[in-house]
């Protein structure tokens, strides 16, 4: 099925003049996916009404010209070293996170709903964390099984009775959304520990503006560039008592060999704060200091990009050299803010996630969840376990504490041997697994060797919470680059797209 590219030819072209290039136009040979929701075209092959202008402008590009621009965008990423590292050898191989130039639009009205839904969700998650480390009302009233919550690997008993400065637990949340075949956004999971990817959102936008300046002049897209300042302000707003004015905020990275080092550096650069490694910090009298060329300097807020386990060898893993001895003591003494707080992994647990809708009703006076979860089977529950084992071929099975697409079984594309192996693992440790029906993720035209073709995407918006909550308009659209694949993680060879929250309408 051919896709309409708009019937009226205007004098407009992306260069400001008609391109002399011949050959097919960008969307001439685009064929919709047989069952997925397409983010640009309706089932009739016409653009959705909110993105007519975008499709019209892009659709006037010839395939060859588009490919030239794609090459120049790629070069920009290479030259700027916009990379993530792959743990292959000692020096670390840096790879470009593949970027696709066809943006993924979201209409303003739909975004407004998502934004409200995400705010509602993060409010409930923060209340849940506060509750779980204090009164545990939600467990006492049996909304969530106690052993499930307290048995989570992310639950930190050291946090019981402690309230972080400002009362915020998850300062930065990346909630993964997908759009099902009917076009509804549903939540796949919440990343409440150290979600990454936001640097690519900002870098993608910067490159898009260089490559398609005219598109931005004609189509109003919400700005994403405020993110670093919003983040810095939010972090400063929850600085501990006695902090300097302004508070000293730092980004703590495990070091230059970490896969997300580019992002750590990017955020520090754009927030205008120091990027530090564990050995740059020390704790004295329960206060955290930075080692500078002119002596120690007090640190008030740490945006830490390493997991709880590695934060403090005195409190957690003694073998870790990445963290800061005594940091947790300083935290418990109320002298430093950690973002995200210690112990947020309990809400990041994939077996706790199915209860978020209940948390919303429980903590927000019976409010109905604006965003729905993907139906989830928790293998810790006997009925769910049986269903999962009986229907492995139809389900996606995930280990509850893994991320990056690791520890996963994609039922429909699995072999009998893989299913047998997974069944054994699940029986062995049911608490460690959940299962979800396969959702046919929506598609967006994505450049491939054969021209634009539908590829599945998800969406990770970023939600920042300090004294108030702010949602980055858009987020990271991740694309599965392999035909038919539903796995979009960068560590699994996925790419990304610019997400356009359109103004107006």
């Amino acid at each position: 099925m051919a896709v309409a590219t708009g019937s009226v030819r205007s004098a407009f072209s992306l260069n400001g003049h008609e391109s002399p290039t011949v050959g097919p136009l960008l969307f001439d040979q685009y064929r919709l996916h047989p069952s997925a929701w397409d983010e640009l075209f309706n089932r009739g092959g016409n653009p959705h009404d909110y993105c007519g202008a975008l499709v019209d402008r892009l659709g006037r590009l010839h395939v060859t010209e588009f490919d030239n621009r794609r090459a120049s965008a790629d070069l920009a990423f290479v030259n700027q070293g916009v990379t993530f590292s792959v743990y292959a050898d000692q020096r670390g191989v840096e790879k470009i996170f593949p970027f696709d130039l066809i943006p993924r639009p979201i209409p303003a009205t739909e975004w407004a709903t998502l934004e409200k839904g995400l705010e509602q969700r993060i409010t409930a998650l923060n209340k849940f964390l506060d509750d779980i480390y204090h009164d545990q009302r939600i467990l006492k009233e049996k909304v969530i099984p106690e052993d499930l919550a307290l048995g989570s690997k992310g639950f930190r008993k050291e946090m019981v009775g402690f309230r972080p400065p400002g009362g915020v637990y998850v300062h930065i949340c990346g909630t993964d959304l997908i759009r099902d075949a009917a076009g509804n956004f549903v939540v796949l999971e919440d990343n409440g520990r150290t979600p990454s990817g936001v640097s690519y959102v900002l870098e993608n936008r910067a490159v898009m503006k260089k490559v398609f300046p005219h598109l931005f002049q004609d189509i109003r897209v919400k700005r994403v560039e405020d993110y670093p300042h919003r983040l810095r302000d939010a972090l400063a707003s929850v600085a501990p008592e006695g902090a300097g004015s302004p508070p000293c905020v730092v980004v703590l990275s495990p070091g230059q060999y970490n896969s997300a080092y580019f992002e750590h550096s990017f955020l520090a650069r754009h927030m205008g704060v120091e990027l530090v490694f564990g050995p740059d910090l020390f704790v004295h009298d329960d206060v955290v200091y930075l080692k500078t060329t002119r002596g120690p300097q007090r640190v008030d807020v740490i945006y830490r990009r390493l997991d709880d386990d590695f934060l403090d060898p005195e409190a957690f893993r003694p073998d870790s050299l990445l963290g800061v001895p005594g940091l947790f003591r300083a935290y418990k003494a109320g002298n430093v803010t950690l973002a995200n707080a210690v112990g947020t992994g309990v809400c990041d647990d994939k077996a706790v996630y199915p209860y978020v809708e209940d948390m919303i009703r429980f903590y927000l006076d019976g409010a109905e969840p604006i965003l729905k979860n993907v139906p989830t089977y928790i293998c810790a529950r006997p009925d769910d376990l049986k269903y999962t084992l009986d229907h492995l071929e139809e389900l996606v099975v995930k280990a509850v504490n893994e991320s990056g697409g690791y520890g996963m079984l994609m039922g429909p594309s699995s072999t009998a041997a893989q299913r047998a192996e997974f069944a054994a693992k699940i029986r062995d440790n049911p608490r460690n697994y959940i299962a979800q029906p396969v959702v046919t993720l929506s598609t967006v035209p994505t450049w491939t060797d054969e021209g634009p073709a539908p590829r599945h995407v998800d969406l990770r918006p970023y939600i920042i919470t300090g004294k108030s909550t702010w949602v980055l308009p858009g987020g990271l659209t991740r694309t599965a680059l392999v035909k038919g694949s539903l796995v979009v993680n960068s560590s699994q060879g996925g790419g990304s797209k610019d997400t356009w929250v359109l103004e107006g309408r």
Binding site: Q80, A268, A333
Partner: protein
């Protein structure tokens, strides 16, 4: 600034400077003595010796030595190694250097991995010229786009310290280029060597614009120029003097401040220079003097490390918010 970050600034500059100087020496040596029949061993072995490599396992032919000093990743002094480490230091402190600086450094890192080999194979001189330009470009960009604050002072400190050492090492080529007989001093070959050394330090024109204190001895005049000239940015005393300024600025300048170990060590080398003349040095042995300078630079490097990068941390006695805890 963070001690570790200061150290990366310092080493970024040192590696860039080192790559440039290796390219200089290789380039000049490549075209040196085309008119004179000097055995290859005599011409190329000194290059290895001055970088401190006494156990080079292969025949020191022109191609072997150039290959080793340009491309060998296992050779820590090769151009590729220096550029790799320069870029790695830059990558770690991208939040400190300017974006434009980073992009240039990254660009040349990619260039060395891709197109550079072809330039090297087809136009050797152009290749070396390009490598030299990298450092010039980065310094120009840094000057124009980076804040001239503390990070900048460490960048300068690294540049001048490395350059002082490199000029000394380049001059020492003369000692290791085995002149068979004392009578050869002042011969055309001897003079050509000195000229080559001058060119390796980019000092040909500035030198010839200067009135000479020893006009009849080109060797002594070149040595004086490269050791003492106050205006030439690659003369060793000038480099050490620049180090002094950068170290003072990096340490901050409140009145009555105790000088850091780094400043004291730099001062010691400056005093050494000022307590003798170029003629004294030539009389007592240039090689010995250059060895003293190279050793002093190493001492200064260690003192810089101790003063700024690994300074003993003395926490303030009464932290603000922790007071109530520590009193209870």
């Amino acid at each position: 600034m963070i001690s570790r970050v200061a150290e990366h600034c310092f080493w970024l500059a040192r590696y860039l400077e080192r790559a440039e100087n290796v390219a200089r020496v290789l380039d000049v040596n490549h075209t040196l003595l085309l008119d004179f029949h000097v055995p290859a061993e005599q011409q190329w072995k000194p290059i290895l010796i001055i970088t401190g490599l006494h156990d080079y396992p292969h025949e020191p032919t022109a191609e072997n030595v150039q290959e080793y000093m340009t491309w060998d990743e296992k050779n820590p002094f090769s151009i590729t190694s220096s550029m790799y480490w320069a870029r790695e230091n830059a990558r770690i402190i991208r939040e400190v250097i300017s974006g434009e600086m980073w992009e240039r450094i990254n660009y040349y890192h990619l260039w060395l991995k891709a197109d550079a080999r072809e330039v090297y194979d087809t136009n050797r001189h152009e290749f070396y010229a390009q490598v030299k330009r990298i450092n010039h470009l980065v310094h120009g960009i840094a000057d124009a786009t980076m804040s001239h604050g503390e990070a900048w002072e460490f960048f300068k400190l690294g540049t001048y310290l490395e350059r002082a050492s490199q000029t000394a090492r380049i001059m020492d080529v003369k000692y290791h280029t085995l002149l068979p007989k004392v009578e050869d001093v002042g011969t055309p070959v001897d003079n050509a060597h000195w000229l080559a050394i001058l060119m390796s330090c980019s000092g040909y024109e500035p030198f010839h614009k200067k009135p000479k204190s020893v006009p009849m001895e080109p060797g002594a005049a070149v040595a004086e120029f490269l050791l003492y000239d106050a205006e030439f940015p690659r003369s060793i005393r000038r480099c050490v003097w620049e180090c002094e300024g950068a170290a003072e600025a990096a340490a901050g300048n409140p009145v009555g401040r105790e000088p850091t170990a780094a400043e004291r060590q730099i001062r010691e080398l400056l005093d050494w220079f000022d307590s003798r003349t170029s003629a004294d040095i030539m009389r007592d042995g240039l090689h010995e003097a250059l060895t003293h300078i190279v050793d002093s630079v190493i001492k200064i490097g260690n003192a810089v490390h101790a003063s700024f990068f690994a300074a003993e941390v003395k926490p303030p006695p009464r932290p603000r918010a922790a007071m109530s805890q520590s009193q209870s």
